[in-house]
């Protein structure tokens, strides 16, 4: 209650207060930033070429030259983990952007138009949700042939449903809201009402979903690559790298350990960010006062 009024003193104090109150948001935001930085700066911070094979230096234990050791083909695991960050993050961002924008648009359409359009879109969503998402993605990949591109297409086709459902539900509530009724009474066109009045109000939950979705997609992608359906050699991808270390878990566990750690860190960072964004946008979850 009136926290903003009380705290509006100096910018520094505002930032400090924010960090203290939203420590989870700050920590997860920093972790996500770290992942993004590693992906952006990738080529600059890689000690070695992630692709070139050196059969004389295969499966070496971590050393000063190779901090994470080398893989069964003598490639620097650290460089490959960094390259894997680029692979995963780029793909995840592409998938989330396309499926997110597509899903939001279809959700707006379904919720606002209602009727036949609505039932057509929602029945399609129902059918897609009849499969566990990774199984549907596998079916799509079978038809397109294994590879990172197929994974991107498959996961995009699978993931838009969540946004469509979310946005549709929000639109159905917002349609009844007074400010929307007012805008309609003032003679605003449908598209103007949709994009000017309704869209801004659904962005927060969409953002939360997108952050959680990136975590989910990174995991699905790694799983598919682990199964051999995603990234193909010599591409550096965490799931594929873990798969490659399978035969060496007895002698060289670090081959699977480091890509796994990177994978888990990224998933943790994005899902924590999603969770804390949700708490941040939904003050209902904070302490309540009676009356």
């Amino acid at each position: 209650m009136d926290v903003i009024l009380l705290s509006a003193k100096t910018p520094k104090k505002v930032v400090l207060r924010f960090l203290k109150q939203e420590s989870m948001l700050a920590v997860s935001g920093a972790a996500v930033l770290l992942v993004i930085m590693v992906a952006l700066l990738g080529p600059l911070i890689m000690p070695h070429d992630p692709i070139s094979v050196s059969l004389t230096e295969k499966v070496q234990t971590p050393s000063f030259q190779y901090p994470f050791g080398t893989d069964p083909l003598g490639r620097c695991i650290l460089s490959r983990v960094i390259q894997g960050t680029r692979t995963s993050l780029t793909a995840a961002v592409v998938i989330v952007s396309i499926s997110g924008i597509g899903g939001v648009l279809l959700g707006l359409l379904a919720g606002y138009k209602g009727g036949g359009v609505d039932s057509l879109i929602m029945r399609l969503v129902d059918v897609l949700l009849a499969f566990p998402s990774i199984i549907l993605a596998m079916a799509l990949i079978v038809s397109m042939g294994p590879g990172l591109e197929s994974v991107i297409v498959a996961l995009t086709l699978v993931h838009w449903t969540g946004y469509a459902r979310l946005v549709r539900a929000e639109v159905l509530t917002l349609k009844q809201a007074e400010f929307v009724e007012g805008a309609r009474a003032l003679g605003n066109s449908s598209s103007r009402i949709l994009f000017k009045y309704i869209l801004p109000n659904v962005l927060a939950p969409v953002l939360v979903m997108a952050s959680l979705d990136i975590a989910h997609i990174i995991l699905s992608m790694a799983s598919l690559s682990f199964l051999g359906l995603g990234a193909q050699p010599p591409e550096a991808e965490w799931g594929a790298m873990i798969n490659q270390g399978r035969e060496f878990i007895r002698t060289a566990p670090y081959v699977t350990l480091f890509p796994g750690l990177a994978l888990m860190f990224s998933i943790l960072a994005f899902s924590l960010l999603g969770d804390s964004l949700r708490d941040y946008f939904d003050p209902r979850l904070r302490d309540k006062v009676i009356e």
């Binding site: 209650m1 009136d2 926290v3 009024l5 009380l6 207060r17 109150q21 904070r286 302490d287 309540k288 006062v289 009676i290 009356e291």
Partner: protein
């Protein structure tokens, strides 16, 4: 009325303050409230939403969430509620002090039959066996004029109308015949017809059983029908308290006067402005910014609650 004041009170609240800590802000919902409830008396606590009246009721039963703190004294039959153990409090709730909660729509457990929910409180506090408890609740339902009481026992809350749910809540609060009943906004969310029915119901309840009642309401007309005494609350503190007739006929506090003028039958005039946020209470008189006779003294100084007439207390510089 006056002879009651000589008796010793059933419940005696002294200098009660209840605060909530919300993140780094402290909200003082009840501020230095003192009041007595005498045996066989209906005391109405009147004020706008958010003035702290419900918090006061929950403080009496110590049912507030963990982020709250109550200070002062609440004596029930000489027992200090604020210092009682959890078990002592538990035994008091429902048995000695009953509560009829607000919002009939959400105060009943949606997954349990209403008959069972009322029987639960009976079986907990009295050593009555299940068939007898069942019989007693049916009796209670029919006394509260719930149509087809036997059948209603097996209904779930969503199968009942708002008025019926309100009756179920009333029967739950009075089932063990407690000495004091706290009634929280009994008319909230009911239409005019139902409101009158509930008021009649409560009036009969109070008259028949000779029990004390703390009636919490924002509606002065409900208080006028039921209460022996009225306490008016504003921004966490009591601004006027006296006999029902005294407060309604010769209101001394400008807030009470404004409340009366806002009643549909009395001009329907709304009070300008908003009550202050309980986390940022102005230093002077709390009603001063909205007061029709706002004085400069009130802007700077906080008036005390004084006895303006015998047994009629007012917190206003104009009442001196």
């Amino acid at each position: 009325m006056l002879n009651k004041q000589v008796m010793s009170p059933l419940l005696s609240i002294r200098a009660l303050s209840t605060c909530f800590q919300i993140q780094e802000t402290v909200v003082k919902a009840v501020d230095n409230v003192s009041l007595d409830i005498y045996p066989d008396e209906v005391l109405a606590l009147v004020g706008e939403t958010g003035c702290g009246k419900s918090v006061l009721a929950l403080s009496i039963l110590r049912l507030l969430p963990e982020n709250s703190l109550s200070e002062g004294s609440i004596l029930y039959k000489g027992f200090e509620i604020l210092e009682g153990s959890n078990e002592e409090l538990r035994a008091l709730r429902g048995r000695e002090i009953g509560m009829i909660p607000q919002s009939q729509a959400s105060s009943l457990n949606p997954l349990l039959k209403v008959g069972w929910q009322v029987m639960e409180v009976l079986r907990l506090h009295t050593k009555v066996r299940k068939p007898d408890a069942h019989k007693k609740v049916v009796e209670l339902f029919s006394r509260l004029q719930l149509p087809e009481p036997e059948k209603r026992m097996d209904y779930y809350p969503h199968q009942l109308s708002g008025g019926m749910r309100q009756r179920v809540l009333v029967s739950m609060g009075v089932a063990c015949n407690p000495n004091l009943i706290l009634v929280d906004e009994p008319t909230k969310g009911l239409d005019a017809v139902l409101r009158m029915e509930v008021v009649k119901l409560l009036g009969r309840q109070a008259a028949e059983n000779n029990r004390s009642m703390l009636l919490i309401t924002h509606d002065l007309s409900v208080a006028a029908l039921l209460a022996d005494r009225i306490a008016v609350m504003y921004a966490g503190e009591i601004v006027e308290m006296g006999s029902s007739a005294g407060v309604l006929k010769i209101p001394r506090h400008p807030y009470t006067q404004s409340l009366l003028d806002s009643l549909p039958g009395r001009g329907f005039k709304p009070i300008p402005g908003f009550s202050p946020s309980l986390s940022r209470i102005p230093p002077g008189c709390r009603f001063q910014p909205r007061c029709r006779v706002a004085c400069s003294k009130g802007a700077a100084l906080h008036p005390d609650l004084r006895e303006a007439d015998p047994n009629h207390y007012v917190r206003c510089f104009h009442a001196d």
